[in-house]
Symmetry: D2
Subunit: 388 residues, 4 copies
């Protein structure tokens, strides 16, 4: 690695780490600690866990002089890496007041300083570079999770506190057009020399039937029509599991929507407000996305269709549920060791989402990117695009 | 429909209905009533439900003279057809001692007589024929479920009662050979004029990479090696969900296996006995099938690969877990009304199984047949085939 | 023991054992097997368990020649005697189709024959006599449980099958009168030479304030007034735990009551029928009894008050909830061994009920008898008497 | 009320309010927010709830000029007063990061200022005085809960943070002596003109048998003997519910005890340390207290025995489990309105504890004081005294 490359890497690392802290800027200390549902991790856990990732996979692995900030932090900030020792189980993350927020920031500082010194002094090997880039991408993923989790922590509070009054919500002004693709063999999957996750490989051929896809996302206004047409009361639009979900959760609107004084409102990071009809609908489960598409008499795209069409789609406002289950591509191989736990072990019972969202860090996504969640997940910035 | 066709249909109906009762022949009245876990329905429920299917979708629909045997039976024997009225929820099927077994057999008799009279007297329309064939196939599916559920009811009893001392277990004598298929476009899905389920259509093209698949199923002996090599103690072979399942259920062997006097035994329909090494392993979850394949350094086939290879595989002893999630084929459309609830609404969070099992009714399966269960299901006759 | 005493004991044993079977006479085989809720045991379990009691504590203990009918039955029919080996956990009783009903009757027959032969041949010691009488009283307790459990099994079935069309429900015609007792020291607890349970001893002195108690039980009609006055909607009548219970179970009427065609009905052993206003209310929890009394501006009697007044009360139709928790009397000592597990270990978190019910076997109860259940239990024949 | 009385009341109020804040002094902001188990409320909730009590029952009730600090706080800080509007359900208290700790202190300040001004300006009626004293006693109860909850929040953290290195644990040096009381009529319950809770009245006569009670509490050393003698492995010492509790929770020591490097340690507010044999055992459930007494061949005292003996007992280090269920005294009447919800509605399924603990505020308890918890509660400072 030459000096220019090294400096680029150092800059990228610094920018990324700073951006994480910028996201937390509007928080009060109390906001850092909560875990109101199992899926939502406390912000201070995200801050610690991303630092732990660099400490464990870079510093403790490559730097013989590095001393761990606090050996007990491995127990506290390890997430799901079974191969890296015991860990606080996920549902208990919100039961720990210590380390304090200040201590977690000290931990970040300690790791940042050590990484920067190490990068400057060492000869950056290909393996080290690869893990640094993985760590940066990992931190970017947690940047989006920080935003989703902060939104849940604040939006679940009956006082509906504002995160940032300037927070701008995406608008979708144009009407959707229909993009048609012919039957045939296409290629999907990552190709190139930049970073991608292991689950985006191998690039491979798929055979697709002819399809037409909307260039635009479904809006709040369109979703409201579904609701007002009895969408949540008619099982015929739903999967059996989805219908159980509706009945059990008394589902009748997207997450953060509230019927108030005769009108639908929603909580967003800039506060509580009346639904805007032309904004892409957000915070819906796969079950709801599927039901909406059924009601429309159509279906969601598969991830292959989405990727083939990506160049012509208007995407990036919402993670878009596809009709594809999250499964390995042909030739996928888990890496050895802890890094191999990154993606492969989640390849069952989850659905693929494509695109990116208003909460995704700049430059983090790409047309081959495969996001995945369980079909009942709603706290992510999830939306709908349909086959026409 | 001419008279020969009509007589064939009548014979098929009669044979099928009798076979269901033959399966129940060895049961005591008490065995008909239980539901030891939610997935296992009481045998008398299967007897009633299959009759209800013919009553509801044929007799009450086509025969204006038919009188329901007992209008309350719709409530008791409807399974999941939301569009056909309220129903006893699934987990409560085992809480009903009435109707008695004798009454359920009377109900069957009543429906059989009515169907036979009706088929003889009426002009069998295409729609009627289609529903009769669906009803027969539906009953065949419940024949296999009857066997799996009876096995659970008896095998879960600490007295290990014998169902049938003559019950013969499949043997697999030959060593597996490797079947190789070249990269390219293949066609899968049902094509023809015979019956198939809606989920087997449309026939469509798929692009497959080169693969090699074993001609034979994995045996008890091979699975025991996995167990003895610590397969259930090493998370690296498992999905994250699978590892949770292992820890929660203290999984360490297939269902019905018991370590007894220093040796692994298993319950089968002919009683409790020592494990036979050369019999295909049975009653494993998708999680276990996947972990076994990972331990072998390989993977399960996709359903497309399986179907392409089917002509050269030795199949029929076990339902074979594939690496494919249960999703619609291109062009799949749910039918209108209750019949449309048959398959489509289960297309989320389940995995496809291909082949057939020793418990599958003769003639029921075919190479395009798509069975599906949740990844933790073990009470079916499920087994493993691997990619080589 | 002289011959007259011996014959009396033999007669009592025979009569009791026959009465148990008479209770089961109207059942179908299917009814014997179910356990629709954890508290309800399958009738065949009661038949087996009462026989196991005589086999374990009499035959295997005193008769060196006795051979157990089936050694595995200890596992199946032991209830909660931790000191007598492992057992099927309570919630799994309804998951066993074997032994069959016929086998259980054979077991009873085997035990009866052995007991009768043994009693005729042996010198009946005081200890043996004591255990025989305990076994008979134990069987009488299970006779009432059989009736309550059969009622639940049938009454929980949407077909509402009749147990016995001749079954007569108690009527209460007279208006209640107020019985007044003066302040002072009273004695309660069993005194005498006949059988009593260990929890009825020691007889001891208690100091009571002046109180007035109703001679009669609360009727359906009176309870309906409470319901119609919003009793189930006003938390101020309820314990905090009771109010949680109401909300969680959407409580709005006693067990087995159904609002049907504009009128309250109830299931009883003679079938489904309109509520009779002058019959004592039945199948209510302690929470409901307490709330009713609060609504009336009064309270339930303590068990001490009840016992002091017993001679002047009209009792025997319902087990009457008292305001007393089930705790040991002064000087209470658990017996050694398995018999010591009979009563003492339940002395926490349960409430005392006094009296007897229409389902109690003749001669089984007495004024000092202490029945006990958790405050949410409703499937017993429980009712209300109030302090005036 | 004359000026001296008024000033005394004002001083008492100020001292009490300040003491609450002193308890929280060693906390970090993060510690104020957590609810690791349902029973433990976040410290900031206690701070807010005690202020809400004065605001709701004094200021909003008596002071026409008072303006609520924030009308939404009623929803957030109401605990269980059904009659004072909706509330955040108990298990969700730990899911609220807002109001912040600082805002809660502002709320306290607002209420304190308003109360002090109001008390100085108004003519203090008997009713107002009564509610002020109730509010002060209520706050003292929450002072003890603050200490128990803080201990749980810190002691549940794997880092075992110290609350206060100077925290002094009670020592018990003297050997216990046996205090004997003769059979006869005694009086118990509060008598006098000072404050008592409604559950301490009416003073009434009870008849007690002769008993002997230990003057001292059971120590860690004595409890360790019970553990080492297999107390947690022998069901015969336990209630059936207690034995279920042991098996379900794998109980083998008091709360906060850890076996570490071959020795039993415990967490206390001054940190993690080796068990001290002569300190009264703490943090045990009623089930454990009962099992210990059974193992000793004796029992716990009843609350009547305890109160009669109180003058000669060495008490105040631990809340002492009694063998008495929490039930109303003769003549007990719930007050009208929200204040009536204070005690009466908890009178089912809980056990009485007598005495006080090292965490009880000075002057808060008295010999007639009745504390109460469910039999499985361990996070309070609970201990054991036995009948000899």
């Amino acid at each position: 690695m030459n000096d220019i490359e090294r400096n680029d890497l150092i800059d990228w690392f610094k920018t990324t780490r700073k951006h994480t802290e910028a996201i937390c800027k509007p928080l009060m200390v109390e906001d850092y600690v909560l875990q109101p549902i199992a899926e939502v991790s406390p912000p201070k856990w995200h801050l610690g866990h991303t630092s732990w990732f660099f400490e464990t996979f870079i510093l403790l692995h490559f730097d013989p002089d590095y001393e761990a900030f606090n050996p007990q932090y491995n127990f506290v900030f390890n997430s799901y890496y079974e191969s890296v020792g015991e860990r606080v189980i996920r549902v208990n993350r919100g039961n720990l007041s210590r380390p304090t927020v200040e201590q977690v920031y000290d931990y970040r500082q300690h790791v940042d300083t050590a990484i920067l010194r190490f990068l400057k002094e060492t000869d950056v090997s290909a393996e080290l570079k690869k893990l640094m880039i993985l760590g940066i991408n990992h931190e970017q993923q947690h940047q989006e999770l920080l935003i989703t989790d902060i939104k849940y922590i604040l939006g679940n509070n009956p006082l509906f506190p504002v995160y940032n009054a300037e927070y701008v919500t995406n608008k979708q002004c144009s009407a959707g057009s229909s993009l048609v693709f012919q039957e045939g063999v296409y290629e999907i999957g990552y190709q190139g020399d930049e970073f991608c996750f292991d689950n985006e490989r191998n690039r491979h051929k798929v055979y697709l039937n002819k399809f037409a896809i909307s260039s635009e996302l479904i809006t709040n206004g369109e979703y409201l029509e579904f609701m007002q047409d009895g969408g949540y009361e008619n099982f015929s639009y739903w999967h059996a599991d989805g219908w159980e979900w509706v009945k059990k959760n008394q589902g009748k609107a997207p997450l953060y929507w509230h019927y108030h004084h005769g009108e639908w409102h929603r909580y967003d990071l800039d506060g509580f407000k009346v639904i805007e009809p032309d904004v892409p609908v957000c915070h819906i489960s796969y079950y709801e996305a599927f039901a909406f598409a059924s009601w429309k008499g159509t279906r969601l795209p598969t991830e292959e269709e989405w990727e083939v069409a990506a160049g012509q789609l208007n995407w990036g406002a919402r993670w878009e549920w596809t009709e594809s289950a999250y499964l390995p591509y042909p030739g996928f191989k888990k890496e050895k060791g802890a890094i191999g736990e990154y993606n492969g072990k989640f390849m069952v019972s989850q659905m693929v989402l494509r695109g990116a969202s208003e909460a995704t860090s700049t430059g983090h996504s790409r047309p081959t990117y495969r996001n995945f969640f369980y079909p009942d997940a709603r706290w992510q910035f999830t939306g709908i695009r349909i086959i026409l």
